[in-house]
Symmetry: D2
C-alpha cells in the first residue's frame, strides 16, 4: 500500500481522530448524555469519514491505478476502486 506508506502518519492521525469521535459517542451513550449531543456527534462523523474515504480513493487512483507497474496490477487496482465506489456511492 505504497501511498499509505508515504502518507501513513497523516492517514493514521485522521483514522484515530475518527475513532476518538466514535468513542465520544460511546461515552455520551453510556453516561446518558442529552440526545441532542449524541445526534450532533454522530452527524459530524459523517463529514470526517467522507473526507478520509475520498482521500484514500484519490491516493489509490493516483498510485495504484495511474502509476501501476503493469497492466495486470492496474486492472486489479481499478477493480478495487470500482468495488469501493459501488459500496460507498449508493
Amino acid at each position: 500500500m505504497a501511498h499509505t506508506i508515504r502518507e501513513k502518519a497523516k492517514l493514521l492521525a485522521r483514522v484515530r481522530r475518527l475513532k476518538g469521535q466514535m468513542e465520544a459517542v460511546e461515552r455520551a451513550l453510556e453516561k446518558e448524555a442529552p440526545c441532542g449531543e449524541v445526534l450532533q456527534l454522530l452527524a459530524s462523523i459523517r463529514g470526517a469519514l467522507a473526507g478520509l474515504t475520498g482521500e484514500v480513493m484519490e491516493d489509490h487512483l493516483h498510485e495504484h491505478v495511474q502509476h501501476a507497474e503493469n497492466e495486470q496490477l492496474r486492472a486489479q487496482a481499478v477493480e478495487e476502486l470500482a468495488e469501493a465506489l459501488r459500496t460507498y456511492i449508493r
Copy 2:
C-alpha cells in the same frame, strides 16, 4: 436521553461495532495492508454510520419531539434535530 436509556444496549452495541470497524482500518494502515482492503473497510463504514445516525434521529423524533413533556422542550428537541440534519445532509 430517554430513548437511549430504553434502547441503550442496542445502540451501544452498534456504536462499538462501528468503533471496531474503525480500529480495523487503523490496524490495516499500521500493518500496511493492501490499499484495496483499506478502501473496502472504509466504504462499508459509511452504511453502518448512516444506519445508526438515522435510527438515533428517528428515536429522537418520536421521544423528544412527538412526545415532549411541554412545548418548550419540544421546540428545543426540534432545534437539535434540525441542527443535526443541517450537519448531516449536505
Copy 3:
C-alpha cells in the same frame, strides 16, 4: 402543504434549477460531451439535492410536526418525516 405555500416560490426556484442541472446532463450525453464534463455536472447535483431535501425536511419539522394542529396530525407528520429519513439516510 402549509410551509410550501409560504415558501413556495423559493422552493420551486430551487427545484427548477435542479431540473435544469439534470437537463444539462441530458444535453451533455446527447451531444457526446467529454465524460469529465458529465461527471462534474452529476457530482454537483448531489449537493444541490441534499440542500433542498434538508430544507424541506426542516420546514416540515417546524410546520407539520412542531406546530401541528392536534396530536393525530403530529403523529402523521412524524411518520412522514421518519419514512423520508429512512429512504434518504442509508
Copy 4:
C-alpha cells in the same frame, strides 16, 4: 465520451427518469400536494442519482483511465475523476 456512446441509450434513459422525478417534485409543489408526498419524492431521488453517478464514475474509470490511449490522456482522466470524487464525496 466513448463509454457513453456505447451505453448512451441506457444512461440517457436513467437521466430522463431522474428528470421526470424532479418534474414530479415540481408538480407536487405547484399543486400544493401534502408535504409528506414531496418529502418522499425528494428522498427517493437521492438513491437514483447516486446509482447513476456511481455508474458513470465506474465507466469512466474503465474506459478513460484503465484503457487510455496514452499516459497524458490517462493523467487527464484521472484528474477528472479525482475532481468529481472531491465534489461528490464530502
